[in-house]
Each structure stands twice: as structure tokens, then as C-alpha cells.
């Protein structure tokens, strides 16, 4: 039983607020990815949960134990540091064994768990080496193995795969997911990589300027962002937004209308792949400016009413630069945001 509960945690560095009244719950055995731009407070949050940083206010609970004022060792968690912190004076084996040795486990257990973690992260061949003789990606995997070896109930990971090549990252990701699910490890996983967050997480928490903007299942984060920021941050290309005005109980534009009780200016958000491309007369007029062939699809950049929009077309679509085509929106797949607050209505 090791859920993480964060209640109203704030962190001030001098005058700057790094975290503001942040609430977050990670259920027992759940995998939550923390996604957000650089400097939004992800590492700070992890360090406060781990007990490495003091908080300015709020509480941290692990299971139903208030650990807010406990030293790191007594919180019963493991962590992968953003800059690895692999001990240079110890071999890879001893690095991975470090936590187990501190727990005074017997040699046979240490040997078994170290080998297991090392196999999982494919660092078995380097066990006798010192970290100075490893590449950055290999060192990073040592850091992950060190955390997995102690079989923690709670695991905090700060961009643990950021230094691996795309293929290895894909492989490690799948391995991590299955191992952590099997062990029922409660995991909070910081990443910059959206596809990683999408693929790994039970839920994604999108963080922005010290607050969590939205926490939800990956598909909902993607298709139903709760704010302008989430829509613009998640997905590549990001969500498109059109400035419209709602009146008379509905929101309408060329070839599209949906009921809406809100009155006044709103933003209509939609994903580039959620539109049907039709004749110009039957939808929203879209003037194609740039065509980028991406292999699996074409990425079209153009303008609608002077606003920049990106949509996705099938790879064989017969589209040329300068053409105006129609975009047909699906009322079930759009989001409407308040122009003022940037929040979903």
C-alpha cells in the first residue's frame, strides 16, 4: 500500500514560486507521467516527495503515513536522478548493489537482484567496469538499475531514458512498463518526451509554472485538453485553435455548428488529424502554405481566417501549395475554451 498523496505543496526559492499549492495523487501501483516544459518544477516536486528539498507548505503522504518531515531513507522510496548520480568510485555492480548493501541483504540476494536489474537494462556486460568507462546512456541505465534493484514500493524517476537512442528507449520503455506493472510499483515518472508519457503512463499530469494543469488518461489529455496550454503543449503538431464568437445557444462557422450555452468569444480547438478534407465550399476555408511529407502522412500548414492551422492529410492526397481546401470539423472531437481564461468550457 504505497499511494503518493501530495496536498497543497508549495515551494518558494527566494521570491520565485517553483510550486504553487500543488495537489496530486498517485494511486497504489499506478504509473503517472509528469510532463511539462523545462523549469516548470518537475524535479523540484520529485525532490520534495523524496525529502531532498524542504517544502514551503503542504503535506506529502506515502501510503497513509505523513512523511513530510521524515528523512529520505525513511520514506521507503527509490529515485533516479536527472543527472544520474552514479558513484564514480564504485563499479557498476557495486553501484547497482548500493541500496541492497545499505539494507544489509545477504550476498546471494544482492547478487541475484543486481543481475536481474542489470539484465533488464542490458548492462550485464559492464558490471565490472567503473562509470567513467561508460557512455552517458549506459550510466543512465546504471542509475535506473540501482533504483530497480531495491524493488521499491515507490519509484521516482527524473527523465530516466533521456540519453538513450530512439530504438533503445523504445525497448527500455516496454521493459520498464512490464516490470513495474508486475511488481505493482507506484511510479512517478518525469519526462519531456510525450510519446514516452503516452505509451507508459496510466495517467499523465501536465505541469505548467508550478501547477498541474491537467491530470488524466493519456487519450483524454490528448483529445480533451482542459486548457489552452495543455492543448498547445501535448501532441505534435499541437492542437489548432480558431477564434470564434458563440451566440444564440450555438457555436458555428462554415459547415460546422454545435450547441453551446456560453456567449461571447471562444477558442475552438481541434486536432490536425480529426478533420475531414473536403471541397472548399463545404467546410472551413484552409489555404495551404507548406506541405511536409512525413512518410505516414502529409503535414499541411496553412491559414484559416488569418490564423495558422496545421492539419494532417493522407500521404497520397492530391494537394498543392497555394490551394484552398475545406476542413470539416467533427463536433464530437473538438474542445471549446474560454478566450479569457484559456480553460475548457
Amino acid at each position: 500500500m504505497a499511494a503518493i498523496t501530495i496536498e497543497g505543496v508549495s515551494k518558494r526559492f527566494g521570491a520565485a514560486m517553483a510550486l504553487e499549492q500543488l495537489d496530486l495523487t498517485v494511486a497504489d501501483g499506478e504509473f503517472v507521467a509528469l510532463l511539462g516544459p523545462s523549469g516548470c518544477g518537475k524535479t523540484t516536486l520529485l525532490r520534495i516527495i523524496a525529502g531532498l528539498e524542504t517544502r514551503s507548505s503542504g503535506r506529502v503522504l506515502i501510503g497513509d503515513r505523513d512523511v513530510s518531515d521524515l528523512p529520505p531513507a525513511q520514506r521507503g522510496l527509490a529515485m533516479v536522478f536527472q543527472n544520474y548520480a552514479v558513484f564514480p568510485h564504485l563499479t557498476v555492480f557495486e553501484n547497482v548493489a548500493f541500496g541492497l548493501r545499505m539494507q544489509k541483504r545477504d550476498e546471494a540476494t544482492i547478487d541475484r537482484q543486481v543481475k536481474r536489474a542489470a539484465d533488464l537494462l542490458q548492462i550485464g556486460p559492464y558490471l565490472d567496469r567503473y562509470p567513467a568507462k561508460l557512455s552517458g546512456g549506459q550510466r543512465q541505465r546504471v542509475a535506473v538499475a540501482r533504483a530497480l534493484a531495491v524493488e521499491p514500493a515507490v519509484l521516482l524517476m527524473d527523465e530516466p531514458l533521456s540519453n538513450l537512442d530512439a530504438l533503445l528507449r523504445l525497448e527500455m520503455r516496454a521493459e520498464l512498463k512490464s516490470v513495474l506493472k508486475e511488481a505493482g510499483t507506484t511510479t512517478l515518472y518525469v519526462t519531456h518526451d510525450q510519446t514516452e508519457a503516452m505509451g507508459l503512463a496510466d495517467r499523465i499530469a501536465v505541469m505548467h509554472k508550478g501547477v498541474i494543469e491537467q491530470i488524466d488518461e493519456p487519450t483524454r489529455i490528448y483529445s480533451k485538453p482542459s486548457s489552452l496550454f495543455v492543448g498547445g503543449f501535448v501532441g505534435s503538431p499541437p492542437m489548432n485553435f480558431l477564434n470564434l464568437v458563440a451566440s444564440g445557444g450555438s457555436l458555428a462557422c462554415d459547415g460546422f455548428s454545435m450547441p453551446l450555452t456560453h456567449q461571447g468569444p471562444v477558442l475552438l480547438g481541434f486536432r490536425g488529424e480529426d478533420v475531414a478534407l473536403v471541397e472548399a465550399s463545404r467546410g472551413v476555408g484552409f489555404e495551404v502554405k507548406v506541405i511536409e511529407p512525413m512518410g505516414s502522412h502529409l503535414l499541411l500548414t496553412g491559414v484559416v481566417n488569418g490564423e495558422r492551422i496545421r492539419v494532417v492529410a493522407p500521404p497520397q492526397a492530391d494537394i498543392a501549395r497555394g490551394m484552398t481546401i475545406g476542413l470539416q470539423l467533427d463536433a464530437a472531437r473538438v474542445v471549446v475554451m474560454d478566450t479569457q481564461t484559456g480553460k475548457a468550457l
Binding site: 525529502g51 529520505p72 548500493f98 545499505m102 568507462k133
Partner: protein, 282 residues
């Protein structure tokens, strides 16, 4: 291009010449002088040195001082360095105060402690007022070798721990804080963190500090002389006596060479004992 090939040598030439003139030449001269035993032959000066009444006792005193002072100093400096590391505020001020003795010459330091510890010194005045002693008590003469030795140890530690401290503080600052944090997370106690993470990562600094301090400690003299005169003979003191009072430069040179050999041997031992596998470096 020829100029670029010779340029490095040209650039180190002034330093090399300086070292040769002021270091290598006197060194060679001293060594030559020490083996110039006249009628007594090559080892004549060394035989006189070994036969000297004070030789054994000065050798023993020097070693005892080094073996007492240096380990105490290292432990003190590590403790002080770790304390500084923990301080949130005022670290600079405390470090500055702790390093004041660095600016005091060893003779002056010896005189300071003499003023404290002599018959009518501050310590006796203080103890007298407390009622512990009934009058001036001698701590520093030949009848009280133990307190004399302790006084010299205290003075030496006060005077020269700061050098070790500065090296250790610099070394500690080079260790990224994440290493200690990782140790915390994985359940290391304060002692385990010190012995398994901090000290191993501090090894290069410890090695420098040990070599520097040991070599200097073998040359201990002025503070000892100020506090104990010749009641506590040490090697450099004997060299001084042979040079100044006996006007025998050759035996003084033999002492100097002996001190150098001991220092070099100590350095070699440290380099070997504290050797770090090159691949284990950060």
C-alpha cells in the same frame, strides 16, 4: 613551423631557469656537502650525525609529532569541513576565522602559545583563579616532557590545520550534492555516507593534504623552538644547531638530506596507499 615547435620550451624556460638556480643547484650542493666528510670519508658526516647525542631523541620526537599531529589534523579538518558544508549561512565568515592561523608565521604561533602556557601565562592565571593550582606551575620544561609535548602538538594543530581545511573544503565543494542525496535515498546512515561516498570521493584532496602536511610536519621547528627551546629536540632543530652553533655545515647538510629522504619516502607511501585506479576517477 620551427617557431611553433620551440615556443613551448621557450615559454617554460624562465620557470625552469628559476627552479634550477634557486632549487636544484642548492639541492645538489647540499647533497654534495653532506657527502664531503673530509678525512672521515663519504659517510663521515652521516656517522657524526648518527653518533650525535641528540640524534635518536630528535628523530623520535619528530616522528612522534608527525604521527600525532597529522592524523589529528586530518580528522579535525574533515570534521570542520563537513560542518561548514552543512551550514546554510555564515559559512564564509566561519571559514575565514578558521583560516586566520594560516596568516601567522610558525614562530609567531609558537610565541602565542608560549604566552598562554608559560609559568605566568594566561592558562596558569586562569587555573589559579579557578583554584586548581596555587601558584605559577611549569608545564614547558624538561621535567614535564608530557605537557611539553602536548603543548607543541596543540600549537602545531592550531597553526597548521587550516591548510588541510582549505584543501578539504575545496574538495568537498567539487562533489556534486546528488551523490550524498543518492546515498540518503538508498538508506545510508550518516557514517556510511561518510565512509562509502564522501571520503572515497574526497580521496584526491585527502592525498594532497596528507602529502603537503606530512612533508611540512617533518620540517617542524620554529613553534617547537619557541615553546620548548632545546628541551624537545627535533631534526630540523638539530640541523639548525649544527649550522649556527657548531658552524659545521656538512653535518647540517646531512640532517637536511635525511629530512628530505624521509619526506620523499612518506610521499611515496601515500601515493601508493591512496592510489586511485584511474578509471575510478570522476
Amino acid at each position: 613551423m620551427p617557431t611553433s615547435r620551440w615556443l613551448p620550451y621557450l615559454l617554460i624556460a624562465p620557470a625552469s631557469v628559476f627552479l634550477a638556480v634557486f632549487f636544484a643547484v642548492p639541492l645538489v650542493q647540499t647533497i654534495v656537502l653532506s657527502f664531503d666528510g673530509g678525512p672521515a670519508g663519504l659517510w663521515g658526516n652521516y656517522q657524526r650525525m648518527l653518533g650525535d647525542l641528540n640524534f635518536n631523541v630528535s628523530l623520535r620526537n619528530t616522528f612522534m609529532l608527525v604521527l600525532t599531529v597529522v592524523p589529528l589534523q586530518m580528522m579535525l579538518a574533515i570534521g570542520m569541513g563537513l560542518m561548514l558544508q552543512k551550514m546554510q549561512r555564515g559559512r564564509e565568515v566561519v571559514l575565514w576565522i578558521w583560516t586566520i592561523p594560516l596568516g601567522v608565521s610558525d614562530l609567531a604561533a609558537g610565541l602565542v602559545w608560549l604566552a598562554i602556557l608559560q609559568n605566568t601565562g594566561y592558562l596558569n592565571t586562569f587555573l589559579f583563579h579557578l583554584g586548581v593550582i596555587d601558584g605559577p606551575t611549569a608545564w614547558l620544561n624538561s621535567e614535564t616532557p608530557m605537557t611539553l609535548f602536548i603543548a607543541v602538538v596543540v600549537a602545531e594543530i592550531w597553526r597548521s590545520t587550516a591548510v588541510v581545511l582549505v584543501i578539504i573544503v575545496a574538495g568537498l565543494q567539487l562533489i556534486p550534492k546528488e551523490f550524498g542525496e543518492a546515498a540518503d535515498i538508498f538508506g545510508a546512515s550518516a557514517w556510511q555516507k561518510l565512509t562509502r561516498v564522501t571520503l572515497p570521493m574526497l580521496k584526491p584532496s585527502l592525498q594532497s593534504a596528507l602529502i603537503l602536511r606530512t612533508v611540512l610536519a617533518f620540517e617542524v621547528f620554529a613553534a617547537v623552538y619557541a615553546i620548548g627551546g632545546r628541551n624537545i629536540p627535533v631534526l630540523v632543530g638539530e640541523a639548525y644547531v649544527w649550522q649556527r652553533e657548531n658552524q659545521n655545515y656538512s653535518v647540517a647538510a646531512a640532517y637536511a638530506v635525511l629530512i628530505m629522504v624521509i619526506s620523499l619516502a612518506a610521499t611515496a607511501v601515500y601515493l601508493r596507499l591512496l592510489r586511485q585506479k584511474p578509471e575510478a576517477q570522476a
